[in-house]
Symmetry: C2
Subunit: 370 residues, 2 copies
């Protein structure tokens, strides 16, 4: 079995599970640190593993451009190229159609991109995206999808949904013909329309993917809109497959999504914020440049057992940040990634103890910060 549900808190949809891949297992709910270009910024694979990472996310579009499929082909897998021996999920490039849309032209066949690196032009079809991910040998492939920028009119969302379903069917067929080692997830679109989300889910479910993701959220909508889409949709994703909420990731978002049955998360927040000096702790966010930390001898988070918290006072972290030292990014990222992964471990424990609601309330009561 690729996915097994191992626990459920009966008062909500929160559940635990286990995913098995050729590169090892993953306990869910899980957070996947983002390693867009084949590196989780500022961390060695060793530090990532020490922080408790079970799986990371990399990006098909970015790796296709640089270093290029020809390079990674020499190494049989992205894992060997980057010396990460645990599972990798690769995003498809669908998000880049959105985020780099000034450089992208979409039609029925796929998407024509101008490289954001050197302006060169190339075409990605749903099948080509599978082929690239086959070269990366990612354990979990995401299909090429499409969604309209927020705010969209219903007509745009319908068109994007139609394309997403059409591409998903082609990608699924191509994947099943070319790949027997790995797994493939579809991405539910439909914007902020509950009925379109439902339609997207129905069409994709019929294609029997190994897992289902919710895409097109955390792209500018309000928290209220985010919740209104997620709450009814997440529990309706197939219960015998992993459910993945793409790109969302404050601790509050994760608690809300887990409560509604989501198993997998990725977000640049912990790593990007680390580099910007915003740190996640059990007492809320710490803005490390604040004057009050100038002589502070305490660890960042007294409840954290990461390398940073075990060794360095806040005053030193502030000094490194003010001096723009590389070590600031390193120590801050070690902490933030550890915090997120530890947070997920606590969520899993709470669900298995049938105490998810209590955990959520206790966590949020302490989580105030700067």
């Amino acid at each position: 079995m690729f996915f097994t549900q191992t626990g459920l808190d009966p008062r909500c949809q929160a559940r635990t599970g286990r995913i098995e891949t050729k590169n090892g297992g993953i306990d869910t709910p899980i957070f996947m640190p983002v390693g867009t270009a084949g590196t989780v910024k500022a961390l060695t694979p060793q530090q990532l593993a020490e922080a408790g990472a079970q799986i990371i996310l990399a990006n098909t579009y970015h790796l296709f451009l640089r270093p290029g499929t020809d390079v990674i082909k020499e190494f049989a897998s992205l894992h060997r190229f980057m010396a990460w021996d645990k599972p990798i999920l690769t995003d498809s490039g669908g998000f880049q159609i959105f985020s780099l849309r000034a450089n992208a032209k979409v039609d029925d066949q796929g998407v024509r991109f101008k490289s954001h690196l050197d302006g060169s032009s190339f075409f990605l079809s749903p099948e080509a995206v599978v082929d690239i991910q086959n070269v990366l040998d990612s354990d979990i492939q995401m299909v090429l999808d499409h969604f309209a920028p927020y705010p969209a009119v219903r007509d745009q969302d319908e068109k994007a949904l139609r394309l997403t379903s059409h591409w998903a069917a082609r990608a699924r067929e191509h994947f099943l013909r070319t790949n027997r080692r790995n797994f493939q997830f579809a991405i539910v679109q439909g914007g902020l329309h509950a009925d379109l989300r439902e339609k997207s889910l129905r069409e994709l479910s019929a294609m029997d993917f190994d897992g289902y993701a919710i895409g097109g959220l955390s792209v500018g909508e309000t928290l209220e809109e985010f919740k209104q889409i997620l709450q009814p949709l997440a529990p309706r994703l197939p219960a015998d497959r992993p459910r993945y909420l793409m790109g969302s990731g404050t601790p509050e978002d994760i608690l809300f999504a887990v409560e509604n049955g989501v198993d997998m998360f990725d977000c640049v927040l912990p790593s990007r914020n680390a580099r910007n000096g915003t740190l996640f702790t059990s007492r809320g966010r710490v803005i490390i440049k604040n004057e009050k930390y100038k002589c502070d001898p305490q660890p960042l988070d007294g409840d954290c057992r990461c390398y940073t918290c075990r060794n360095f006072p806040r005053a030193y972290l502030r000094h490194l940040f003010m001096s723009r030292e590389i070590l600031a990014s390193i120590l801050n990222t070690i902490h933030n990634i550890h915090f997120y992964l530890d947070f997920m471990a606590k969520i899993r424990y709470a669900v298995q103890s049938l105490k998810f609601i209590e955990f959520k309330e206790d966590f949020l009561a302490l989580y105030k910060g700067d």
Copy 2:
């Protein structure tokens, strides 16, 4: 005993020794990685220790400006502030009188600086520099010294020498009154004049410092000039004290200096070059961005056992460098620092085996590179 000579290759001046400090011992000849602002750029203290670092160098002037003595005072030592529990040597700020000379005004009493960070003005006397280093609790303090920019006329070198001796006497007296835990080194100046170097050494030797450094080299002079000063001078530094060549550090420089009796080195070369993508290997320097490494599956240096060489192909290091990823600086610095420290360990082994000359010749025969 602070310093004990433990070996000597009788065919030259190359020797091994042992320095003992309150924070542990140091085997010489040793290379000290440069941690100007209380961090060896891009490395955690754990990675530094794994690379084999026995002692690091930090900078009094920089730490005085930021984070400031008031901050470090809260932590009893720089070691605790930065979580480095092995010895630290602190440079005095004399080099900054040179490198930041547009902001510095020297007189008999000391030096008035305008901060390169915020333009604020402050005064450093030889005694003040000792006091700051007492707060840092550095195991080895360097005295405040002075030297003229290259090329200098003899008159400037004489004046700088006079000031250096005068300041050294004051610094020594102040140190002996205020510090019983640590050690203090003088810095021999005198520019490119053998007789002035001799005079400087004579005056400083009379003050009975714990060790002697050669300053004012690797500041623009030719390799020939460097060698002409170093060769006669180094072996005349007191044999029962550590001899330290400041700021020099190609592998070729180090071999030449060890052959002439030098025990200690520091240089930004391995760490700065790492960040610029120039890597030291047993086959010479590797410029990692070169196209020929694009698909190269080999480790950077097949003879190296560092974390980088044990795990990553050159193609990945090139990809990280081309993508300007922080991990490029990290993995490259791990390697370069490991290479330097391993190089020093091999030198010590060669001296103890009475095979230093053979080691030098074998090393240089292989050391070609890009």
